[in-house]
């Protein structure tokens, strides 16, 4: 099947979604996904961040689709032509979606554990606008503990339903779901029942924002100060393939291994996640590849791996030109620096 996305044509299997096809091309073309999570069945279609324009439905019926379609759940037809990053309407709508998602979001990134690996941060950085148009009070909720390991801060939640699907599909006994409606809807457990099963910790990994966080890791470190290492162990409950997050020599956090789209490859059990926090529990495989242009890679760890891309280089160059031309005559003449301070 042939599909054209942003003027790039590729062959895909029948049944592929537009999102999957776009991801084959690369992260520049792939629409943002806040709710879609490939390993979980039934996710997608909720955040509307991945809406794209279909300018030709298929070879047989080349009419454009009247509305923007969610790329994560729309399957490709032969000869379909899709516009994502080159369509004004799509980009304008996406701006609106960011605005909607941030409307009741507290923007407390400075005290949020997710900052640095938050999909909402990435999404709003890439597609949002810097100014807000709202003067209304935000809806607020009290943070609650879902058992000893998981903290729920509903203020930050964007109701992507990923955790609901994860809890449904990975664990037994349905205790985790959504209560109420509209913008007062909240993630909750049945009568505040503590979540108690072996795979509940995965809801933390699937959460795109800081609504569900690891209570054993909270406030221990900013994520960009920690160094991820792939490791494995013999676990009778799960595959045992994890990522360890080091601060110095200390394992401060254990998570599942994620692919370049931030999706967990193999879900891990709570014992691995919350209790095996010594290096001696693990066989280290080596540094984790952080494939996305993440702030985590901006730390000393892996700093040499990132190549500044075009705009950053350009900006630095332009800044230098401006700086060189700056009129400094009003400043008192400065003595030349001692040689030890020169680089």
């Amino acid at each position: 099947m042939k599909v054209t996305i942003d003027n790039i044509t590729l062959e895909v299997e029948p049944g592929t979604t537009i999102m999957q096809a776009a991801r084959m091309i690369g992260p520049e073309i792939a629409p943002p996904a806040m709710c879609y999570y490939e390993p979980l069945k039934g996710t997608g279609g909720k955040c509307r961040g991945c809406l794209v324009k279909v300018t030709a439905g298929s070879e047989k019926d080349p009419r454009p689709m009247p509305k923007l379609v969610p790329s994560c759940i729309t399957t490709v037809q032969d000869g379909m032509i899709v516009e994502n990053t080159i369509n004004e309407q799509v980009l304008e709508t996406r701006k609106g979606i960011v605005e909607f998602l941030l409307l009741n979001h507290p923007l407390d990134c400075p005290v949020c554990d997710q900052a640095g690996e938050c999909h909402l941060q990435d999404f709003s950085f890439e597609h949002g606008v810097s100014a807000t148009r709202t003067v209304e009070d935000r809806n607020t909720f009290d943070p609650v503990d879902l058992g000893p390991y998981i903290k729920l801060n509903m203020n930050r939640c964007i109701l992507c339903y990923r955790c609901v699907y994860a809890a449904d599909q990975l664990t037994e006994g349905r205790v985790h779901g959504v209560m109420h409606r509209g913008d007062h809807a909240e993630i909750s457990t049945y009568i505040e029942k503590a979540i108690d099963n072996d795979f509940s910790g995965n809801v933390i990994d699937v959460c795109p924002v800081g609504a569900l966080t690891d209570r054993t890791y909270r406030f221990k470190s900013r994520v960009w100060f920690s160094k991820p290492e792939d490791a494995h162990c013999d676990c009778d409950k799960c595959s045992g393939n994890v990522t360890l997050w080091y601060r110095g020599d200390e394992v401060i956090r254990v998570t599942g291994r994620k692919n370049e789209w931030g999706e967990v490859k193999e879900f891990i059990c709570n014992t691995c996640r919350f209790e095996r926090k010594k290096t001696s529990d693990w066989v280290i495989e080596g540094p984790t590849k952080i494939a996305r242009h993440s702030v985590i890679s901006a730390n000393k760890y892996g700093a040499n791996l990132i190549q500044p891309s075009f705009p950053i280089k350009q900006a630095a160059l332009e800044y230098k030109l401006i700086d060189d031309d700056r009129d400094r005559s009003f400043l008192p003449a400065r003595k030349s620096l001692p040689s030890s301070e020169k680089k």
Binding site: R48, F100, L103, V178, R181
Partner: protein, 446 residues
């Protein structure tokens, strides 16, 4: 011309004996004994009957889309979750004459080959549910439901299910979720219910009025039904008329009468209440665009507007509206449009399911901004903000609730912008109790 409400005022019509005395259940006998399911579908197609729930999609065409794989049950679900503000026609029909609906259900289920059918009634109408259940029991007792109906070999079980009190469950896929016992969140489409509906089986969801009309079509033929009405708007329509009119109530009108007739004729609404003038009309339930008096009576081309799907939507949303579900809300000049829009916005804010972000956040935002304007704390930029928010919700949501929330707000601003501006510029006047903006030159009453 009355089809659904012909005998509705007959005492005892809610009992099966009286109902049969007035020609009830003839359609069941005719369809099951003399016709094949395809012939029934063909008659409905010929009739040009369009869905009465709001969207106006041809019923016969919807039925023909139903997938019919071997060995998979098919379902007919009657959408009686009528919750749109200003619409109360299905309630009236089920309450007064439950057998009209049940007869239609049997005929329609037969046409679709469904052996199990459901009537999903909104939870607030508990007494209607009791009436329906009593009527269904009567039908079972007379052999009109259950195994081998009237000896034709066709089986049908009919159930009534009560909703939990959510407007969103009137959306067909949310209704199916709710019927399955889940949270009433709309599903992503495709797949459409005709392919994967209730319990992943092919399902048709129709409005009460559409289903009730099928028995008359079977009795009298599709052509006879198509004779009534104008163009593609065939048959009769129940209109729930409310607001500042002399005679509010449910009226069955032949499609094609003029709007002016409907409002001012003594046969229908009887005109605006004494000493007042028409200001605006919401023609099809709260979600359709509001129209000022001059636009609802005549189209942009100067023709008289008719009560049909086409004529009401003439001119698009710039100068037109929609027939919708037939919730005809009439307002006179004492109505504050800003307050009215706030009421609608608050409703959609409360009823948004919260699944997709534009609707969840956008409805709340619009509600809060309009509330601020109404309370005299509006800012100049708020009007354009509202238009922009409405634009960003419209068309970008999973289900039509987003559109339904956006249209009344954008239409109110389109046609009554000066009223919003007055609220913002003169908060001290606008926040007086009962204060209503009057256009320069307008008079208070006749």
């Amino acid at each position: 011309m009355k089809i659904l409400t012909e005998h509705i005022e007959v005492p005892g019509i809610e009992t099966i004996d009286v109902f049969r005395k007035h020609g009830g259940y003839q359609a069941v006998e005719k369809a099951l004994k003399k016709m094949t399911p395809d012939e029934v579908t063909e008659e409905v197609k010929k009739s040009g009957l369009r869905g009465r729930g709001g969207a106006g999609f041809p019923v016969g065409m919807k039925w023909s889309f139903l997938a019919k794989p071997e060995g998979v049950p098919r379902y007919l679900v009657c959408n009686a979750d009528e919750s749109e503000p200003g619409t109360f026609k299905d309630h009236y029909l089920m309450w007064k004459s439950p057998h009209t609906l049940i007869e239609g259900m049997i005929v329609s289920s037969f046409a679709l080959g469904a052996n199990t059918s459901y009537i999903y009634v909104r939870g607030e109408l508990m007494y209607v549910i009791h009436i329906l259940e009593k009527a269904i029991q009567e039908a079972y007792d007379k052999g009109l439901l259950g195994k081998n109906i009237l000896g034709s070999g066709y089986d049908l079980d009919l159930y009534v299910q009560s909703g939990g009190g959510a407007y969103i469950c009137g959306e067909e896929t949310a209704l199916l979720e709710s019927l399955e016992g889940k949270r009433g969140n709309p599903r992503n489409k495709p797949p459409f219910p005709a392919v994967k509906g209730l319990w992943q089986c092919p399902t048709v969801v129709n409005n009460v009025e559409s289903i009730a009309a099928t028995s008359w079509i079977v009795n009298n033929g599709g052509d006879a039904y198509a004779q009534i009405g104008v163009g593609r708007s065939t048959g009769t329509k129940l209109i729930s008329a409310s607001g500042h009119i002399r005679k509010p109530g449910v009226y069955e009108i032949p499609l094609g009468i003029t709007v002016e007739d409907f409002i001012y004729s003594d046969e229908w609404c009887g005109g605006i209440r004494d000493g007042h003038k028409l200001k605006a009309v919401v023609a099809g339930g709260s979600s359709v665009p509001i129209l000022p008096a001059e636009m609802i009576l005549t189209t942009a081309t100067g023709e008289k507007r008719l009560m049909t799907y086409e004529s009401l939507s003439d001119g698009g949303f710039a100068t037109g509206t929609m027939l919708g579900s037939g919730g005809f809300i009439v307002m006179d000049e004492t109505t504050c449009i800003v307050h009215n829009t706030l009421t609608f916005a608050r409703f959609y804010h409360h009823e948004s399911c919260g699944q997709c972000s534009p609707c969840r956040e956008g409805t709340g935002w619009m509600d809060k901004v309009i509330k601020r304007i109404e309370l005299g704390q509006g800012r100049k930029e708020d009007i354009d903000l509202l238009v922009d928010v409405a634009k960003k919700i419209e068309g970008n949501t999973i289900c039509p609730l987003g559109d339904a929330a956006a249209w009344p707000v954008s239409a109110a601003i389109r046609h009554f912008r000066d009223e919003f501006e007055w609220h913002i510029e003169h908060p001290e006047l606008a926040t007086q109790p009962g204060a209503v903006y009057m256009r320069p030159g307008a008079s208070w009453s006749n």
